[in-house]
């Protein structure tokens, strides 16, 4: 298997605060990797760095062998290959669902409108959103909005999807429909790097789970091992708290 994503010794600080302190991570093609860890451990920052929304201070990031953090890299070209979905959906409120989904393919990939709309409609149908295509985001439930956000990212036909705690802002009864979408993507072979608090979901879907602690990946391995028999005391502590909170 070739590496879809390589993160090599990445450091990132915000002012005095060093959020990433040398992260090394490789994600193979078609692999699903879940990032777990406490709030502030650097999960979101890592995803934002991979998408080049945050410039890194040190290290390298490679996508399918191409370094994306070097000088003179066209960030827009890189981002077209990497889809990201945010915790707060971030749909464009002044556009209908269909326009939300077709905007980037039409502007960034220069796909003609008819083709972009046909592809968007196919994707929306696949995720049960066909009847919402002309609605504005305000009219949709959180779960529907997040599914639209996933479709919007997929419409760019990315090589890699980054999901940043996509169910954290949802009411509990809406979480399942979004996880179902992600499960389907995994089954279809999408390479994904997922930051999540849903441990049972991580156990279910991930090929590998990485525990992020204070800006480094402290421990990683198959979900069964990391979630059931973690070696590191910090991982054990974190999971203990999760179990006490009733989330595992």
């Amino acid at each position: 298997m070739s590496e879809a994503l390589v993160v090599d010794g990445v450091h990132k600080s915000f002012g005095q605060l060093e959020v990433l302190r040398g992260v090394d991570l490789a994600v193979a093609e078609h692999e699903v990797v879940c990032l777990i860890g406490a709030s502030g451990s650097g999960k979101s920052t890592l995803l934002r760095c991979v998408n080049l929304l945050e410039p890194i201070d040190e290290g390298r990031i490679l996508v399918e062998g191409d370094e994306i953090t070097g000088r003179g890299v066209d960030v827009n070209r890189v981002r077209r290959r990497i889809g990201i979905v945010f915790q707060a959906y971030n749909l464009f409120p002044h556009m209908s669902v269909l326009v939300n989904v077709t905007l980037a393919p039409m502007l960034a990939l220069r796909i003609p409108r008819a083709q972009a709309e046909a592809e968007a409609t196919t994707l929306l149908e696949r995720f049960g959103l066909a009847d919402k295509r002309n609605d504005y985001p305000d009219r949709l439930s959180g779960g529907q909005q997040q599914r639209v956000a996933i479709v919007r990212a997929l419409a760019m036909k990315p090589d890699l999807m980054l999901l940043d705690e996509v169910t954290s802002a949802l009411d509990p009864e809406l979480v399942a429909e979004v996880l179902e979408v992600i499960r389907e993507l995994a089954a279809a072979g999408m390479t994904m790097l997922i930051a999540t608090h849903e441990m049972s979901f991580a156990r279910d879907i991930a090929d590998r789970v990485c525990f992020l602690d204070e800006g480094v990946i402290l421990e990683q391995g198959p979900p069964a091992q990391i979630l059931s028999e973690p070696k590191e005391p910090r991982t054990q502590q974190f999971l203990q708290r999760i179990i006490e909170a009733g989330r595992l």
Binding site: N51, L53, N76, R77, R79, R80, I82, G83, I84, F86, A88, N90, L91, F92, P93, H94, S96, V97, L103, A104, L107, A108, L109, K132, R133, N134, D135, Y136, D138, R139, R152, A153, M156
Partner: protein
């Protein structure tokens, strides 16, 4: 039925208090010692009727000044606001220029800008510089109001959450594409009411161009008043200005409402 009953009672109370308030005000004014004189010089119906046609014609110039200036201001102010929003050290000169511009033209009284340009520019005696006072009056209004309106746009741009730009950029849109399709449409929608506020101000300030000698509504009413020793023409001009403002205000209300309805509408 309580709420319907309460609603009807509310309307009745509002109506009653309005009538009482304005009756008292009218009584107070009409019983003032100088009222007969004021009535004769400011509210002379015959005078009003006689001067109205001429002032209305002159008012067309105000409308023209307003429309031309507004078209330029809407575009130039947006350009200025966008220049000031550009990130990074490369664009520092642009941002500095934008700030200097806004500071200067918001600081100098509009009538001074009009006087300086209206009397100064033609005095240069350059063959390609227009001599029309109206032209320079319009230029002055554009310069001043662009400074104000660019601040309004800027507030709108800054009110759009950075996550919107992040979402657009993460999809591979360029900074410019994100600005044009995602940030500005939301920013402009939000500032429509304050924008209109500035345009009402602009519409009134068209009267300042009369200072240069252009015969617009205020200048015309001044001429009429001077000829008849009666100030009713000023009241006639005021009526015209108000008559233009009200539809403008209702139009904005309608725009805001339409936008809200559209966002909450389900698709067909």
């Amino acid at each position: 039925m309580t709420s319907a009953g309460e609603g009807r009672r509310g309307v009745t109370v509002a109506l009653l208090s309005t009538v009482v308030f304005f009756t008292l005000l009218a009584v107070a004014i009409t019983h003032a010692p100088g009222w007969p004189e004021v009535k004769r010089t400011f509210f002379n119906w015959n005078q009003f009727r006689d001067s109205m046609p001429e002032i209305s014609r002159a008012f067309l110039l105000n409308v023209k000044i307003f429309m031309i200036a507004e078209a330029f201001i809407l575009v130039l102010a947006l350009v200025l606001a966008v220049l000031r929003s550009l990130p990074g050290p490369v664009f520092f000169p642009m941002r500095a220029l934008g700030i200097a511009y806004a500071d200067f033209f918001r600081g100098v009284p509009t009538i001074l800008v009009i006087a300086l340009l209206g009397f100064g520019a033609p005095a240069l005696q350059l063959s390609w510089v227009p001599l029309s006072t109206t032209f320079w009056g319009i230029v002055a209004l554009i310069l001043v109001y662009t400074a104000y309106v660019s601040e309004v746009y800027r507030a709108g741009i800054e009110s759009v959450h950075p996550s919107q730009d992040a979402a657009a950029r993460s999809l591979g849109l360029t900074h410019w594409q994100s600005l044009r399709k995602v940030v500005l449409p939301q920013a402009v929608r939000r500032v429509i009411p304050p924008l209109l506020n500035d345009f009402i101000g602009l519409q009134k300030d068209t009267a300042l161009v009369g200072f240069l000698g252009s015969v617009e509504a205020f200048k015309q009413s001044q001429i009429d008043a001077a000829a008849t020793f009666n100030y009713t023409p000023f009241v006639a001009a005021a009526v015209l200005f108000v008559a233009l403002t009200i539809p403008l205000a209702r139009f904005t209300d309608w725009l805001v409402l339409r936008d809200r309805r559209r966002r909450q509408a389900t698709g067909t």
